[in-house]
C-alpha cells in the first residue's frame, strides 16, 4: 500500500469555489510533486517542492493554484476559483532526492476533484 497519504479521496465543488487537497509524503522524503491526471489519463506537472521551497511550477499553478509544504504539516494544493476544466485526479508523489537510488517517485492514491 502507498505510504503517501492524500486527503480527501473525493472532492466536489461548484465553479468559482475554492478546492483544497492535502498530501502527507512518505516519511523522510523531502521532495514532493503534484500532478494533475486528466480524463485521458495524461499526467500534467503542476509544482514540486524540496522541503518547504518551491523548485518548479507551471504558469497555471502560478495564477489560480497555490501550494505549500510547511514543516511538520501536510503539503497542500489549493485551487482558488475552481473551473470545470480543473476536474481531474490530483496526484501527489514524493521521493528521497534526485540521484540514482533516490529518484523514484512514490504516489498517493490521489484526490478526485469534480467541479460542477
Amino acid at each position: 500500500n502507498s505510504k503517501v497519504i492524500q486527503t480527501p479521496r473525493y472532492l466536489v465543488k461548484g465553479q468559482g469555489q475554492k478546492a483544497k487537497m492535502r498530501c502527507i509524503p512518505e516519511k523522510g522524503h523531502p521532495v514532493v510533486f503534484w500532478y494533475q491526471q486528466n480524463k485521458n489519463n495524461e499526467f500534467k506537472f503542476l509544482i514540486n517542492f524540496q522541503n518547504q521551497e518551491v523548485l518548479q511550477q507551471i504558469d497555471m499553478t502560478e495564477k489560480r493554484f497555490s501550494a505549500e509544504c510547511p514543516s511538520n504539516s501536510p503539503c497542500s494544493l489549493e485551487i482558488q476559483s475552481s473551473e470545470a476544466g480543473d476536474s481531474a485526479l490530483y496526484l501527489c508523489a514524493s521521493s528521497l532526492g534526485t540521484g540514482r537510488g533516490q529518484n523514484t517517485l512514490y504516489f498517493g492514491a490521489g484526490t478526485r476533484l469534480s467541479v460542477l
Binding site: V4, L55, T98, T104, F107, G108, G110
Partner: protein, 111 residues
Amino acid sequence: GDSVTQTEGLVTLTKGLPVMLNCTYQTTYSPFLFWYVQHLNEAPKLLLKSSTDNKRTEHQGFYATLHKSSSSFHLQKSSVQLSDSALYFCALRTGGYKVVFGSGTRLLVSP
C-alpha cells in the same frame, strides 16, 4: 525538451500470451527510466526502473532493458495474467527535479 512516447494507447491480449509495451524517450541528459502501473482507483505504483545501459531489470515477471542507442525502455512480459489489466506509464527523470510521463498504455487481458 525532454519527452516520452508510448505509441500504443490500448493493447488487448488473451491471458498467457506475451506482451511488449513500447517506450521511447528524448533527452540530452543522462536518463533514468521508470515503468509505473496504475490499477483502477489506485495510486500509480513503481513496477521497474532502469539500470545501466543494456542491462535488463525485472520485477513481478515484467522486464525491461534500457537501450541508450535507440532511446528505448520497452516493457515486456512472457505470459500476461488477468490481474495485469491496468494502465502502464513510462516516465523519464533526467536528474534534477524534472519527471516526464508518457501518455500511458491501457492493457486489457481477457480470459
